[in-house]
């Protein structure tokens, strides 16, 4: 049996706000030194699947850079290895990928060229550790056309997932996408699908005629349930879709607990990533670090509590970082306090800045559905001027400059506000 994995990495991930403004969601940093896609990729190679295609579309540069030729995952191979599949133009058609299944449809030739018997369709934005081999064995044992990995979720959360109802043999008899009623059982679709390639090709060709924006969860699986042999494979390990700011923040900070259910230290299941060459963490004589995850290349002079720090973060003397996620090479100035925030890469937090301050929990005015739990988010490369006080649920766009804060008087950015880069011409006029 030849298994080819296809990882869906093209979605825009809008619910992560500025974190996925400049990069696809699978390449958002996670747990300090990793990126979200590392978990899926490591699952593949740890399951001895060395033939992996990654389907990209939205902002792929950071992802391309990260994957490279797949060296960190031992996927720089002569046979198999990792391939990045971008949308392409062909005679008579020039379509973007309009859905997950459509993306696979447009790359069916890839599966045929690889002489794949089975196609393992994965999502690049889930954080989980899963051995796919038992699922493959189960698929063959059942003689299935398609197998869907499922996990039990609490009954009150079933309206967030695709819910499967199975018979005694494990065959799926009903499929409900985000059911409103609570009587469909608790087996949730994890977005991990295994297809026999022949059947998949057949169903995709038919389906595409009817629906151009073909999606696995919404169309393909529900369409196959009545006619084909579709089985559910139960999984009970760690699985998280950190697709919202709040879920991302919580999932990250859970790693600071010693009994965190995601074990990154398992020598039998190493999560691999492209590691930059960085020196060890340096903590000075004044440093206080506890309850945290700190990556190579960090320099700590101040206090770090219950936080996750990516490589190269600098925490100056007298600064405090609390309940926060700070990404690569961000500089936290002397005396600054960062509380309950997600700070993207290469941000400058000026001296004496209060980032995430006060008890005012006003939701973000522009994104009240996404930023409402008190987390302040700062985009990549933003510069926050010294001594400014920033409230909760604030969104600071990527690349904003000191001057962009001038709109806010008294050096205070109130809770729920957003800071966006001003048009460059205006700031020049002001300067003139």
């Amino acid at each position: 049996m030849r298994v080819v994995a296809m990882i869906m990495a093209g979605g825009a991930g809008t619910r992560l706000t500025v974190l996925s403004d400049k990069r696809a969601k699978p390449s958002v940093p996670f747990a300090g030194k990793y990126r979200i896609i590392d978990f899926t990729l490591s699952n593949c190679v740890n399951s001895h699947i060395y033939d992996v295609a990654i389907l990209t579309q939205y902002r792929p540069h950071s992802l391309n850079e990260h994957i490279g030729i797949g060296k960190p995952w031992d996927l720089d191979r002569v046979r198999g290895g990792v391939r990045l599949l971008q949308p392409y133009q062909a005679r008579g058609s020039q379509d973007w990928y309009s859905g997950t299944a459509d993306a696979v449809y447009q790359n069916l030739n890839y599966l045929f060229n690889r002489e794949a018997d089975l196609a393992l369709i994965l999502s690049g934005d889930h954080i989980y550790k899963m051995d796919y081999r038992p699922m493959i064995a189960y698929h063959e044992e059942k003689g299935a056309d398609a197998t869907v990995a499922v996990m039990n979720v609490p009954l009150e959360e079933t309206d967030r997932f695709g819910i499967m109802t199975t018979n005694k043999a494990g065959r799926i008899v009903e499929f409900h996408e985000k059911p409103k009623t609570r009587d469909k059982g608790t087996l949730a679709n994890m977005g991990v699908y295994l297809f026999s390639v022949e059947k998949l090709a057949e169903r995709l060709r038919e389906g595409r005629k009817r629906k151009p924006d073909l999606d696995f969860g919404k169309h393909v699986i529900p369409g196959m349930v009545p006619t084909d042999r579709v089985y559910a494979h139960p999984f009970d390990g760690y699985w998280v879709d950190a697709g919202t700011v709040d879920a991302y923040w919580r999932t990250s900070l859970e790693l600071c607990d010693p009994d965190s259910t995601l074990n990154l230290w398992d020598p039998q299941w190493v999560i691999r990533t492209r590691s930059q060459e960085r020196p060890p963490v340096k903590c000075s004589a004044q440093a206080q670090i506890a309850h945290s995850l700190v990556s190579n290349g960090c320099t700590i002079h101040g206090r770090v509590e219950h936080s996750v720090l990516s490589p190269g973060v600098y925490v100056s003397l007298g600064a405090v970082v609390r309940d926060s996620v700070i990404m690569n090479d961000t500089w936290v100035g002397p005396g600054a306090v960062v509380d309950r925030a997600i700070v993207d890469k290469e941000v400058v937090v000026g001296s004496g800045v209060q980032l995430g301050h006060g008890d005012d929990m006003t939701p973000n005015q522009q994104l009240s559905d996404r930023l409402n739990t008190g987390i302040t988010v700062v985009g990549k490369g933003a510069h926050i001027p010294a001594s400014i006080c920033i409230g909760r649920n604030v969104l600071i766009d990527a690349d904003v400059d000191e001057a962009d804060f001038a709109l806010f008087g008294d050096n205070v950015v109130p809770s729920g506000a957003s800071v966006a880069p001003g048009p460059a011409e205006i700031s020049e006029e002001v300067g003139a």
């Binding site: 030194k33 230290w265 691999r272 020196p279 903590c283 440093a287 320099t299």
Partner: protein, 415 residues
């Protein structure tokens, strides 16, 4: 630039004792995640020298495994790249055999030098910690049309007995070379880094110097009168870490607020083979002050002024002070480690005390190596729970708990 670098990595490194019991000196871990040879190798590639031979002989396996095809240094190249040069069996024409010194090692690998078509050969030691751009030295060598250039640096008089001491004239040409003198008027020490004209070196080692063993004490000394031998002064940080006190001191120097050797300089990255490890985990009761901590370490206790390697576990209530702890060693609950070097994968049992008390009796078996109060624990050694070890103690590699005596282990003993 057509230069071949040869890194001498075959010595037995007697000065590091248990640290070199299972590996060559250049493969000894340094600064947490690095190995000593990473500095010479990184200097080469940062100086645009991509043709490197590593001469091995003593316990090369760790070194082979570390360097492999040279990927971390971008030395896995079609042209040039890194080559591990092992000793080989002698042939009827007298080449090959075990190597007895640096000159001997280079002599047996002269064919590599000739095949490379290099004009100059840069001879480096595998046990130095420094950041040096070799380009200006090679330029200096070429400008003066030298046959040999010796890198030198100023040392204070009390250190001259450790070095080959050099005297140069106003043009920088070397007029005198003294091997490890107790008293000398010279202040310039040879760093053991040489640029040779490839042809000159080959002709000498196979001609008049065919019986010479050491490059410094024999070859340089005899070439001074016959060839153009120049000194090149280097002024940056440089440490020969061939002894336990020097190795310990060089590690501890990294902990300074502004260390003499900056590891985080983006323009001079020290490359190494990094393992895939998660970030450092610090539990809520952890206390870390003035340390270097490597990825994969898990800290639940107190760590003060120490270098902690990848994957080290410091359990609850344990305390590590002024120590070097290497990869995957486990410090048990409530154990205390003070002024010690603990090699990889060792286990310090619960409540054990390593480096205890004020008794600084020097080590009986190694009075010259261990007399400064540093305790050594070898690779995979197991210190039993509640054991008490004094100062200058040596626990050999792989020593198991049942080899320990019932009572305390007094200062200066070896197990």
């Amino acid at each position: 630039m057509n230069v071949l670098a040869m890194i001498l990595a075959g010595g037995t490194g007697p000065g590091l004792h248990v640290l070199t019991a299972t590996r060559a000196e250049p493969a000894v871990p340094f600064g947490g995640k690095y190995r000593i040879i990473d500095f010479a190798l990184s200097n080469c590639v940062n100086s645009d020298i991509y043709n490197v031979g590593v001469l091995t002989q003593y316990m090369p396996r760790t070194l082979n495994d570390h360097i492999r095809a040279g990927k971390p240094w971008d030395l896995d190249r079609a042209e040039g790249g890194v080559r591990l040069l092992q000793p080989y069996q002698g042939s009827p024409d007298g080449k090959g055999a075990w190597q007895e010194g640096s000159a001997d090692a280079v002599r047996f690998n002269l064919d590599v030098l000739r095949e490379s078509n290099a004009e100059q050969v840069l001879i480096l030691a595998g046990n130095h910690i420094y950041k040096m751009n070799y380009q200006p030295m090679v330029e200096h060598h070429r400008m003066r049309k030298a046959d040999v250039t010796v890198a030198v640096r100023a040392v204070s008089p009390h250190q001259t007995y450790r070095f080959g001491m050099v005297t140069a004239d106003a043009n920088g040409r070397i007029t005198r070379f003294e091997e490890k003198p107790r008293r000398t008027r010279s202040t310039l020490a040879s760093m053991g880094i040489y640029v040779f004209e490839a042809r000159v070196l080959g002709d000498w080692l196979e001609g008049p110097g065919r019986s010479q063993r050491q490059l410094g004490a024999d070859t340089i000394l005899s070439l001074i009168k016959r060839k153009r031998v120049y000194a090149y002064t280097f002024e940056g940080y440089w440490a020969n870490v061939g002894t336990i006190p020097a190795y310990y001191e060089a590690n501890m120097a990294l902990l300074a607020d502004i260390p003499a050797l900056d590891l985080s300089d983006p323009r001079w990255v020290i490359h190494t083979r990094s393992e895939q490890r998660p970030p450092v985990f610090l539990a809520s009761e952890a206390c870390v002050v003035g340390n270097l901590l490597c990825d994969g370490a898990r800290i639940q206790g107190r760590v003060l002024r120490s270098v902690i390697g990848p994957g080290v576990v410091v359990a609850e209530g344990a305390e590590v002070r002024d120590s070097i702890i290497m990869n995957d060693t486990r410090i048990g609950v409530g154990a205390v480690v003070d002024r010690a070097i603990v090699d990889k994968e060792a286990v310090i049992g619960e409540g054990a005390q390593v480096g205890f008390g004020d008794d600084n009796t020097r080590n009986g078996a190694l009075p010259q190596v261990l007399n400064t109060g540093i305790t050594l624990v070898g690779k995979r050694a197991q210190v039993p729970a509640n054991a008490v070890l004094g100062r200058n103690v040596v626990i050999g590699h792989g020593v198991t708990a049942d080899a320990f005596p019932a009572g305390d282990v007094p200062s200066g003993t070896s197990i």
